[in-house]
């Protein structure tokens, strides 16, 4: 490339631009710098909080640059596309010339090239040339992928090489990056990411999408048979477990427990344990204790309905269930909120916390009201996803690790062993080169020299 392209048209100009390593370095560093901003500025947050944090002017400026949803912004995607184009063009550009070198039938060896290498291993063998040639030829055939013997002015050259294919390693890495991005694209076009909360005993057949907040129907229904959360003695959570049943046309086809790290996969759709909570309950068992007589009455209450107080003292209306109730600034946990209307008195708001049954004693009323029990139900929070690109991405993962290994640790090694007669003996000169890791090659040559000098008939 390069010189001939400069004279040609715009296509060559663009091709030249896209095949430059300077572009690679620039895009990689720009992506790195942009990602730093993405981690410093909270993503997909609430506009009011942004304004409070950065002020009106910066808020508008950041909004203009899409910095609040940066990873999905046009310019960030443009950078990724540019990087992909760069990788593809670079690879095609270099592969077209490399291909012929890698898939050559008879590799070319030029003795003059080896002669230039300053470091050589020399020794003398106490066998005539013919025997040494036979012995080393057999050794080369075993230890190398390709070997050949050529006669020289003074004696013979034994050429051998291996690892020619490892020159392709870096293109395997490049291919893997393209696969990762393709897999990501497939996922974003044909996949979805949603969530759904299902109460114990309930069945749903639709989920809510995370990106758009729209509901999406499923081709089957999910029933939550049971949810359990267990804790360690320290109070840290130990396990979240949901028992789920998949229903197809109303018929149960599969029942399984899922926990974090062990999702359920059904017809290309993955169901993950993501969160849990308590469902607001409808009915509650209340107890009323008469302060003077000590009599205890039990009544069943239902949210939204007024019940008559014992001894005809008035009415009690259960308004709602509060998961995290507050009393004078203190969190007192789960509680029912109710309105008490005693005969001839104005309505009075009550809190009936689950954890503190004697809480209502503070009111110093004639009747102390507390929660004796209620039907508690959990709901399980499920992450529901479909990503047809995952297999492509995983293939990319495998290729990337393999490609990095080949690129960094394997090389194309070429050696030339020169044999020259010296009386009844043979003089041996071992020399070689590799396309990378020169220090390592030197060590390998010394090792090869040791091996060859110790070979016996």
């Amino acid at each position: 490339m390069g010189k001939k392209a400069a004279a040609a048209g715009p296509f060559h100009y663009i091709w030249n631009f896209l095949s430059s390593v300077k572009l690679t370095v620039a895009v990689l560093l720009t992506l790195a710098a942009a990602s730093v901003f993405g981690t410093l500025i909270p993503q997909m947050g609430n506009p009011a909080q942004y304004v409070a944090k950065y002020g009106e002017v910066f808020y508008r400026f950041f909004l203009l640059l899409n910095l609040f949803d940066m990873y999905h912004s046009g310019w960030f995607r443009f950078l990724i596309v540019l990087l992909t184009a760069n990788i593809v063009v670079c690879s095609i550009d270099r592969l077209s010339s490399l291909w012929k070198v890698v898939f050559i039938k008879t590799p070319r060896f030029k003795h003059a090239q080896f002669q230039k290498i300053p470091k050589k291993v020399n020794f003398e063998k106490t066998y005539p040339l013919g025997r040494v040639q036979e012995m080393y030829g057999a050794y080369h055939a075993k230890a190398f992928r390709y070997s050949r013997i050529e006669s020289s002015v003074k004696g013979v050259y034994l050429f051998a090489e291996k690892g020619r294919w490892t020159r392709l390693g870096v293109y395997i890495v490049h291919l893997s990056v393209v696969l990762l991005l393709t897999g990501g694209l497939i996922g974003s076009l044909f996949g979805f990411e949603g969530f759904v909360n299902i109460g114990e005993g309930d069945t749903v057949d639709h989920i809510r999408l995370r990106s758009s907040n729209e509901t999406k129907p499923l081709a089957f229904a999910i029933r939550c048979d049971d949810f359990n959360v267990s804790f360690y003695d320290t109070g840290a959570p130990k396990e979240y477990r949901s028992t789920l049943t998949i229903l197809q046309n109303g018929k149960a086809v599969l029942t399984r427990d899922i926990i974090v790290n062990s999702p359920l996969r059904y017809r290309g759709i993955n169901i993950f344990q993501a969160s849990y909570g308590r469902l607001p309950t409808n009915s509650v068992k209340l107890s009323f204790t008469d302060r003077d007589s000590g009599m205890v009455y039990h009544e069943k209450g239902v949210i939204g309905k007024a019940i008559a107080l014992p001894e005809n003292r008035g009415t009690l209306m259960i308004d709602r269930f509060n998961q995290a109730a507050n009393f004078k600034g203190h969190v007192i946990g789960e509680a029912f909120e109710a309105t008490l209307t005693l005969n001839g008195k104005p309505p009075h708001n009550l809190l009936l916390p689950l954890r503190f049954p004697s809480f209502d004693k503070m009111r110093k009323g004639a009747l102390t009201i507390s929660v004796a029990g209620f039907d508690q139900r959990y709901y399980t929070g499920l992450q529901v996803t479909r990503d047809p690109g995952v297999l492509v991405v995983y293939a990319g993962f495998i290729l990337m690790i393999a490609g990095c290994f080949i690129t960094f640790f394997l090389s194309h090694e070429r050696v030339c062993v020169e044999l020259a007669p010296h009386g009844n003996n043979t003089r041996v000169t071992v020399v070689g080169s590799s396309n990378k890791n020169k220090f390592g090659m030197q060590r390998k040559l010394e090792h090869l020299g040791d091996k060859l000098s110790q070979l016996k008939l």
Partner: protein, 281 residues
């Protein structure tokens, strides 16, 4: 003796090794350098024993898991990997002076784990998100990568140090450092090694995330910072292999890369995200 007390002792053994290496270099005493190697081996044995004992202790407590689940345990493992890399480079380069720049890193990691009041050395049970076989693969690959980058960082500092003094300084401290070409080559090899493991670490993390959270990539700050680190080292490798960068510019990139590694490891805990179990506490 508990694992925590063994590991506290290892901190001081590593400190002693670093001291020997540094005095071997500064005062030109080969004996001190040799002492550094022996003390490092003793420290490493203690470090490995401490990790093994901690693993056994967790099973005795009935909450058995690999000791790779919080900041304390990761620092201990990091120090172990750094010491192994340090000794390997020492053998390969045939010079103990490289260790004078690497052994202190292992000491600092251990000292931070053992002495910081913010880091608890208690064995805690695994929370549900961490209960996965990917935990071991993910943490081990990441920290081998971090350690290799740490060694490359030490070598790059040496390179800049040597270059700053010039080659004419015949009798001085820098004259005893390995030649610039050897430092450059060693650092490059460590970066390649680290890059392979960082890549594997990100990939095992992605596969794990896909089985725990249902997505292999979510731009969580830790994920993003590991990618930033990956971009920086990818730049270094391309600049060197394709544009023939050598020496100072590569050394600077390697130092910047290790800063990104450190931020991925510690700094990200200051940002909100899903990897909070790696935080102090």
């Amino acid at each position: 003796m508990t694992s925590s007390s063994i590991l506290s002792v290892v901190t001081f053994v590593y400190g002693l090794a670093a001291f020997f290496y540094l005095s071997g270099w500064v005062f030109h005493k080969p004996l001190a350098g040799r002492m550094g190697t022996w003390v490092s081996f003793i420290g490493l044995a203690g470090n490995v024993a401490g990790i093994a004992l901690r693993w056994a202790e967790s099973y005795r407590m009935g909450i058995g898991h690999a000791p790779l689940s919080n900041l304390y345990e990761s620092l201990v493992f990091f120090a172990c990997m750094l010491t192994i890399c340090c000794l390997v480079v020492e053998m390969r380069s045939g010079s103990r002076i490289t260790s004078a720049f690497i052994a202190p890193l292992a000491f600092l990691a251990m000292a931070y784990a053992s002495l910081s009041p913010n880091i608890s050395d208690r064995i805690q049970p695994l929370i549900p998100a961490l209960k996965s076989n990917w935990l071991i693969a993910h943490v081990i690959t990441c920290f081998i990568g971090y350690a290799a980058f740490g060694v490359a960082f030490g070598l790059s500092i040496m390179y800049l140090f040597k270059q700053g003094q010039g080659d004419t300084d015949a009798g001085g401290l820098t004259a005893r450092l390995p030649s610039r070409s050897v430092l450059d080559e060693l650092a490059h090899r460590m970066v390649m090694f680290g890059f392979l493991f960082l890549t594997s670490g990100i990939i095992t993390g992605a596969v794990w995330a896909n089985s725990a959270w249902g997505r292999y990539w979510g731009w969580d700050p830790k994920e993003t910072w590991s990618l930033i680190t990956w971009f920086i080292y990818a730049t270094l490798l391309h600049a060197r292999m394709m544009r023939g960068w050598h020496g100072k510019r590569i050394a600077v990139l390697s130092i910047v890369g290790f800063m990104a590694v450190m931020f991925t490891y510690f700094g990200v805990n200051l940002l909100p995200g899903l990897h909070s179990y790696g935080a102090a506490g």
